[in-house]
Amino acid sequence: MIQIIKRFWHIASKPSVHLSFGFLTIGGFLAGIIFWGGFNTALEVTNTEKFCIGCHEMADNVYVELQETVHWQNRSGVRATCPDCHVPHNWSDKIARKMQASKEVWATVFGTVNTREKFLAKRGELAQHEWDRFSANNSMECKNCHNYESMDFEIMSERAQVQMKMAAERDQSCVDCHKGIAHNLPDNMNSGEGTLSKLEEMATSGYKAGNSYYSVRQLPLFTDETMTTEAGQLNAATKVTVLAVEGDAIQVELDVWRKTKGFGRVMFEDFAMNINDGYLTKEVAQSDDYMNKGETKIDDLTGLPWQKVEVKLWARNGSLTESRDTLWTFAKSTYDTSCSVCHTQPAENHFDTNTWPGMFNGMLSFVNLDGDTQALVLKYLQKHSSDFSDEAH
């Protein structure tokens, strides 16, 4: 053991930039443990950006990608450098991170990611490694600059408001949603784990204009094909008719109803049925540019006026499927499993469409479902409620 330490120490003490950082890091690290006083200094050196991009894998891949993002250039003039996000600011976590980094540096030594191709092939694994770390520390580095307390929800888009408030309430880890914000995402993201990818796996591709499809999850809507201005959100398992396909964008039509008390932002599948199809921004909901208005009827059970509308908006080319069957199968199994922990789950047709939201809300405190799954399960229950069931119950 003494021999090994001696060897490491010997190498680390050489001020050579040609030597692999792997040796430097590990050597410096071990030395730091032994000669405690020198440790912090060694750590500070490796914390600089220069250190990071000293190896070409970093410089040629992730570093150039960073330069395309808002974390490099923005109005405030504050730039995030590598160690701002990737080396924990908390001292004790720093050590753990250094240990892990050594693996990636080792990879350099053995040449596993020394070309762009090899790097891309390995990106999924490396990214997952970072995401796990962000998950585990609740995206601590992000929160050094962006914390929930100081967010001004008022100036956010409505869609962002809804999502951010939900996240803030749970103090959710930022990277849960904001993956690929500073570097490109790995290819083949959908083969990962988690509900989102499970849902995405159900999506088909090659949508044809004139055909109808269903969203596999909640999807952002935009006003035009540039997809720069948000128009609202499509709910999971919502029927849309594709009108046009323009590269990454598709134009969709929603044949829906809305209540006219308020701004008329929320879209429902059918008259007097609170089956949520998504919502629109205030501007879109109150503009005639994106919809044709149809008949207006009063729902006798609430006294509220409902209006039929055909809404035409744009969405990203993807995340749609031809039939709801697979979505329902997933929803049913989630319902049967998650909602039977406390008691026997009520039969789907035990309640009617408009009673289910209230009953389902009551159960949510006891289950761990993400937003997409919640929306999907609720819609499944509503579409299989007593209003749609012939079976005597």
Partner: protein
């Protein structure tokens, strides 16, 4: 020793011996154990987490878990549960039933001898009865809809095991709702869009910071927060302590609206607004009337967030059929609160930030939907819903609601549904025209009046012809109302199966009784803090299952084996593998937010701490954007008038909250001439429902002459010549019981309390026989709240009582299988 002195032994066993003498009971021990003082282990319960010292295979000592700063003294009852003389030690079958099966004399149920059978025979009998039901009748003949408070632990949750195994065999009648909150959980989705009764509430720090007045409406926080659905943390008590201080400093007013002085009120030293029992709605209506007449209510809030106020107003103002204006003067005659006090109360709660906290007792009475609905209307008129420290909640007394949630995921449970429903042995789903799901409290009616059609929550239910009941960790002979009516129903049942660890009255009225072990004789894990999700607690087995008891997991695995589906039942996993699986699933679910140690470390350390959550305000999202964050009501808004309920056309639950006279009511109400005393049967202070009543030494800390206490008003007692400590006979036309008098100023004239969960102990099996211990459900009536919820109405109950003078019968409960007589 000379041979002659032993002459009588001569030749005694010359020819016999082998045939008469069985195998020995002792073996050579494998290895000597080295334990000296014992081992400390950690476990949990509805009463909180604790550490237990185990020595020589016995639990010696129990002390509260150090994270719990406010442990309940009910922890002292835990040892007594494990070593209770009421433990079911072996699988037992009612002798008469064993001989004659479905032709047995069912009037003798509850008064019969039992015989011990082997596990194998017991499971065979259980299975053959299920089989007989499915083939001879159909799924409508079996009700296996266990309800109530199991023991804690997510792997062994008894209801899950029973439901899974029985569903692998065939379909059965199921239930909806529960005995605690039946009316509340049915009405509130129409009004506020969720069941409310089990919802997280505004965090205590926000209440302490913002509320100026807190109204505790029929709500005893200090008594009820002792127990929790999962392992209880007692974190709320820290805030109650702060509240007490704020009351003393006159920073917050707390007013209990209650017919009795509560434990909370005694603790907080807070105000008491006495109200006649069951008359909350007239008081609330008169408050609304004052708010309206004095123009104090929040019109803008109602306009933005509510529907139907204008449809409710005519009723309030006396412009509908009844032509009665709901003035404070009108209310005074019913609720016993002076008209001016009502006005003053209205002005107080509207003036500053007011948090209304409603308990569950006022919906456990006839028309229990109404006070819940009307309280929501009041809160809407105050306009503070969605503000921190304002608005209304229906659950702050439950499982530490109001302690903020960490957001961590808790462990899931053993799967309740079969993995392969297509492999169900009996696929028959034909319920023969009967309903497959019934409101939970209507199963006795089903047995007694099969085929009867009743209205329930917008549907018509045809009561099924139940022939067989299966209970697991479930004691309806405590939680259901009207014992003597139940006895009649049980005469009609062919077969009753109970799985439990203790001889509850339910077991004593059963035919097949299977001994489960207690939760401390198995390995498990639980969420620490039902709502706060404070952490995960290990439940390390303290001792091996006593006698021939088995875990629920083992018992229903045996049944699944009979079905040839053992592997599908267990998924090939052992008890410990399930504990580990649930833990690892939990680690996975928490990956995004919480670091958890590996299973081995967790099991060794016994606890994972998720820390504290963030403060949160109920309905704040709705208040901020009622369109996007719409409520779950039909309209998405608060429904003061529900057209949906109105269209049902029910008599006792109409389009808006209303006052309905009760079938029985004290203080001049119906039936009070003959039975003048209102009997409250609230949740107990020293038990969890009927759990822990069998813990002998702990029970003796509160019983009076060995009987359940009845709390009496001093004047009422004096009038009847009753002193503290006397035995009292309590009776009405439905039944009679013996209880021990505790005379207390907390109870007003015409008011008495016997806590529910006191074990039923009839003198004999005959209809009308006296309960010797003091189960209040001997006296309550089995009527629905209304056509809407069809829920239990235990708190609509009038009685009379007198000093007991006859020959005192012994308490028949807390015994093993035996004739009760």
């Amino acid at each position: 020793m000379s041979i002659s002195r032993r002459s009588f032994l001569k030749g005694l066993l010359a020819s016999s011996g082998a045939a008469l003498v069985g195998p020995g009971l002792l073996q050579v021990a494998h290895a000597a154990t080295t334990e000296v003082a014992g081992t400390w282990k950690v476990s949990g319960s509805h009463w909180g987490a604790f550490r237990a010292r185990v020595y020589a295979g016995k639990v010696q000592e129990i002390k509260a878990f150090e994270v719990d700063k406010y442990p309940t003294d009910m922890l002292n009852g835990i040892k007594g549960i494990i070593y209770s003389p009421s433990r079911i030690r072996y699988p037992m079958v009612r002798y008469e039933w064993y001989l004659n099966r479905e032709k047995s004399d069912t009037t003798k149920r509850g008064d019969n001898r039992f015989i011990r059978v082997t596990w194998d025979e017991a499971i065979t009998l259980f299975h053959s009865e299920l089989e007989r039901m499915q083939t001879q009748y159909g799924p409508w003949a079996i009700h296996a809809g266990s309800t109530g408070w199991r023991s804690t632990g997510q792997v062994h949750s008894c209801g899950n095991h029973m439901a899974r195994a029985i569903a692998m065999h065939g379909y059965t009648v199921n239930k909806v709702g529960d005995y605690s909150t039946g009316a509340g959980q049915t009405i509130m989705p129409y009004v506020l869009g969720t069941t409310e009764v089990y919802a997280q509430g505004t965090s205590w720090p926000l209440i302490l910071k913002n509320s100026k007045t807190i109204v505790l409406w029929g709500n005893d926080l200090v008594k009820n927060l002792q127990v929790g659905w999962n392992c209880e943390t007692h974190e709320s008590f820290e805030y109650l302590e702060q509240l007490k201080e704020k009351i003393a400093n006159k920073e917050i007013r707390v007013i209990s609206v209650d017919p009795v002085g509560t434990k909370t009120q005694d603790y907080l030293k807070s105000e008491h607004r006495y109200i006649n029992p069951q008359t909350d709605v007239p008081f609330m209506l008169a408050i609304a009337h004052t708010l309206y007449k004095e123009n104090l209510y929040d019109k803008k809030f109602i306009e933005t967030y509510a529907l139907g106020f204008e449809d409710f107003l005519p009723y309030l103002l006396g412009e509908t059929k009844d032509k009665v204006e709901k003035t404070p003067e009108w209310a005074e005659t019913i609720c016993g609160i002076k008209a001016d006090d009502i006005r003053e109360f209205a002005r107080t709660i509207v003036k500053e930030r007011t948090q209304i906290m409603v308990g569950w007792s006022i919906q456990r009475q006839q028309h229990g939907e109404q006070p819940y609905w009307m309280a929501a209307v009041l809160a809407t008129m105050l306009g503070q819903i969605g503000l921190p420290g304002g608005g209304i909640s229906y659950a702050h007394h439950y499982s530490s609601v109001g302690v903020s949630s960490t957001g961590a995921a808790g462990p899931g449970g053993f799967p309740r549904n079969p993995d392969k429903p297509q492999n169900r042995i009996h696929k028959n789903k034909d319920f023969n025209g009967y309903s497959s799901t019934i409101p939970v409290a209507r199963w006795v009616d089903s047995i007694l009046e099969p085929g009867k059609k009743i209205q329930a929550n917008g549907a018509t239910i045809t009561l099924p012809d139940i022939k067989m009941m299966v209970f697991s960790g479930c004691n309806p002979w405590h939680h259901h109302q009207d014992r003597n009516n139940m006895k009649k129903a049980f005469h009609k049942l062919e077969t009753v199966v109970s799985v439990d660890f203790t001889w509850t009255a339910t077991c004593r009225f059963s035919d097949i009784v299977l001994p489960a072990c207690t939760q401390w004789e198995r390995n498990d894990l639980d969420l620490y803090g039902s709502y706060s999700a404070r952490g995960i607690i290990a439940m390390q087995k303290l001792v091996d299952p006593l006698f021939q008891s088995k875990t629920d997991f083992e018992i229903f695995t045996l049944l699944a084996r009979k079905l040839g589906q053992e592997h599908d039942y267990t998924r090939g996993k052992s008890e410990m593998q399930w504990v580990e699986k649930l833990y690892n699933d939990c680690v996975e679910a928490n990956k995004a937010g919480f670091k958890m140690p590996d299973f081995k470390t967790f099991w060794k350390e016994g606890f994972v701490d998720f820390g504290k959550g963030k403060d949160w305000t109920r309905q704040a999202a709705f208040r901020e954007d009622p369109e996007i964050n719409a409520l779950g009501t039909p309209s998405g808004f608060i429904e003061i008038f529900s057209r949906k309920i109105d269209r049902y056309g029910y008599k006792e639950c109409q389009g808006h909250p209303m006052w309905f006279e009760k079938s029985e009511r004290s203080h001049g109400g119906p039936g009070s001439d003959k039975h003048p005393i209102w009997l409250q049967s609230c949740h107990p202070n020293k038990r969890l429902h009927s759990q822990m009543c069998d813990s002998q030494q702990f029970r003796e800390t509160y019983t009076v002459k060995g009987r359940e206490p009845i709390y009496l008003n001093p004047q009422d007692a004096k009038q009847r010549g009753i002193k503290d400590g006397d035995l009292v006979r309590v009776f009405n036309d439905r039944g009679q019981l013996l209880a021990g008098a505790v005379v207390s100023d907390n109870f007003s004239e015409g008011v008495a309390r016997i806590e529910e969960g006191a074990w039923y102990a009839p003198v004999d099996e005959s209809i009308g026989s006296m309960c010797t211990y003091g189960d209040p459900n001997t006296l309550t009536q089995d009527i629905p709240t209304s056509e809407l919820a069809q829920a239990t109405s235990a708190n609509t109950c009038q009685v009379q009582y007198e000093k007991f003078t006859g020959k005192v019968p012994a308490v028949t409960a807390f015994s093993g299988p035996t004739e009760v007589g």
